[in-house]
């Protein structure tokens, strides 16, 4: 009995420890890091094979790899654009990591390999840019290559409702009413979450919603979108583009008084081993072909 008990305990605890769930943030951090490591070591091996000096990253003779960290809301458009880019530059392989800009910023800060960063808000870009105001870039991080940063596209912050709009939410103003029981927004470190809080603050209902426990938080815009799509919540605040790609009904759109412009800045990172290719790809993003993809999904090109 005693022996058995000890064995059961040991077994059960071991399994428990194995399946224990660490923060998913850490997991994706390591995953991204490993991916980068694996990619570079592969390139080194290839170089060794053809007897070249081992330089990480591509030159004109060998396939180049571009590691792009982009806001989760760009998943569909960027994937489409990279497929088009493959036709004109088959020798460039693009590897994306899509997540909330806040998570991506942390990963870059922790040293993840990355050539291009496209954030859904100026904030995360500023936090990595030494030329930004020290009140925003509080840690004095210097990850952004000078002169490569520009505003790529603009998005809109919308109030999306599930099929049939069960709670009958018609406008941002309705969020203060009793008919709302649960609203899903992004965390404050997620750009769309910060924009959402700005809107709720301008309506003067943020504190009320918080104290009524009517706010549930998603860790990136896609999670919020899924919650709305599954009708787990009455409505959610997401980007026009996400509502569009998920086929959700948009009840209201934030105007300029409620929320500042949603600009997506893009830049090449200082640590990039492939600045030349990165620059070419960023240039492609502003051309007409890419523009058509962005606009079809609900983005507008930034001025």
């Amino acid at each position: 009995m005693k022996k058995l008990w000890a064995a059961v305990m040991a077994g059960v605890l071991a399994i428990n420890i194995l399946t224990g769930c660490p923060g998913s943030g850490t997991e994706s951090k390591t995953a991204a890091g490993n991916m980068g490591d694996a990619a570079s070591s592969e390139t080194i091996q290839e170089n060794d094979k053809i007897g070249l000096k081992a330089t990480v990253g591509g030159t004109k003779d060998q396939p180049a790899e571009l590691l792009i960290f982009a806001a989760a809301s760009m998943t569909e458009t960027m994937t489409e654009i990279s497929a088009m880019y493959k036709d004109i530059r088959p020798d460039v392989e693009i590897i994306y990591t899509f997540d909330s800009s806040g998570t991506l910023k942390t990963q870059i800060e922790e040293g993840a390999d990355c050539d291009i960063f496209i954030s859904a808000s100026q904030k995360q870009m500023n936090q990595l840019d030494i030329s930004a105001d020290p009140s925003i870039n509080t840690e004095g991080l210097d990850f952004i290559q000078e002169g490569t940063r520009f505003n790529l596209v603009e998005n809109k912050v919308v109030l999306a409702v599930p099929d049939g709009n069960p709670a009958g939410i018609e406008a941002y103003e309705d969020l203060g009413m009793d008919k709302l029981s649960l609203l899903c927004i992004g965390n404050e470190d997620v750009p769309v979450g910060a924009y959402s809080m700005e809107i709720l603050t301008s309506l003067g209902i943020l504190d009320q919603l918080e104290s009524d426990s009517k706010l549930t938080y998603g860790s990136n815009v896609k999670e919020v979108t899924t919650q709305v799509k599954e009708a787990s919540v009455d409505c959610g605040i997401i980007y026009a583009t996400d509502a569009f790609s998920a086929g959700l009904t948009v009840a209201d759109e934030a105007d300029k008084d409620q929320c500042r412009q949603v600009i997506y800045p893009a830049a090449i990172l200082k640590g990039s081993n492939n600045k030349e290719e990165a620059e070419k790809f960023l240039d492609y993003l502003t051309r007409n072909e890419s523009r058509a993809v962005f606009e079809a999904a609900g983005f507008t090109m930034a001025q």
Partner: protein
């Protein structure tokens, strides 16, 4: 400091432990008696949540309980209750994940039970129910209690399936584990650390209980 997550975590863990205690014992008792093939299959199915990542368990639960999924729709139409994004969604998540711990430990205890004791009870004319509660259960007490304590601890620490099923709504669905993750994400390290300490204290208490149970069994 808002203590809601502690209250909610304890409430979810306690209720799911009670559910899992009875269902786990029930399953362990009856499955041990089934024929080999059925036993093998049921055993795998019932133990799976222990070895699967909790997010996979959460995914399956969402396919079943989501507002637009079969059980979710049924409950909404018949009782007007939503099964996801509420505090009790955490009970579903915690029960499924903690169940195998109770089930496996109870089964191990039942298997080491000397069946001749039950048989002698039968020759004395005792009912099977009486034998179960007055002979089998006391004899397997240690294993069953240990299973219950482990199930409680697992339910208390549940994160993956809970975050998918119940989300994070402060004051409503927030548990200790989802609160720690949320605070870490939003850079509130000091408060996250306080909750980590709370969690450590509870987990240490649980392990201490297990050790005391073990010592008691040694003393016998």
């Amino acid at each position: 400091m808002d203590w809601y997550p502690l209250y909610n975590s304890l409430r979810i863990a306690l209720i799911s432990s009670v559910i899992v205690f009875f269902t786990g014992i029930f399953a362990a008792y009856y499955i041990a008696r089934m024929n080999r093939a059925v036993k093998g299959i049921l055993d795998v199915v019932l133990t799976l949540p222990m070895v699967l990542p909790p997010t996979v368990a959460g995914y399956f639960l969402l396919l079943l309980l989501g507002t637009k999924r079969p059980l979710g729709i049924w409950f909404m139409e018949n009782f007007g209750i939503k099964l996801v994004m509420t505090w009790y969604s955490g009970i579903f998540a915690a029960s499924v994940v903690a169940f195998p711990l109770m089930y496996r430990t109870a089964r191990g205890a039942f298997e080491s039970f000397d069946e001749t004791l039950a048989h002698s009870g039968q020759t004395l004319g005792l009912s099977n129910t009486y034998i179960f509660w007055h002979i089998r259960m006391p004899a397997c007490r240690q294993g069953i209690l240990a299973g219950a304590v482990l199930a409680f601890a697992r339910a208390l620490g549940e994160y993956g399936a809970t975050s998918m099923l119940a989300g994070y709504t402060p004051g409503k669905t927030a548990t200790i584990s989802t609160t720690v993750y949320q605070l870490w994400r939003t850079d509130n390290e000091a408060l996250a650390f306080q909750w980590v300490l709370v969690n450590l204290a509870i987990s240490a208490a649980v392990l201490l209980t297990v050790n005391m149970l073990e010592r008691k069994s040694k003393g016998k």
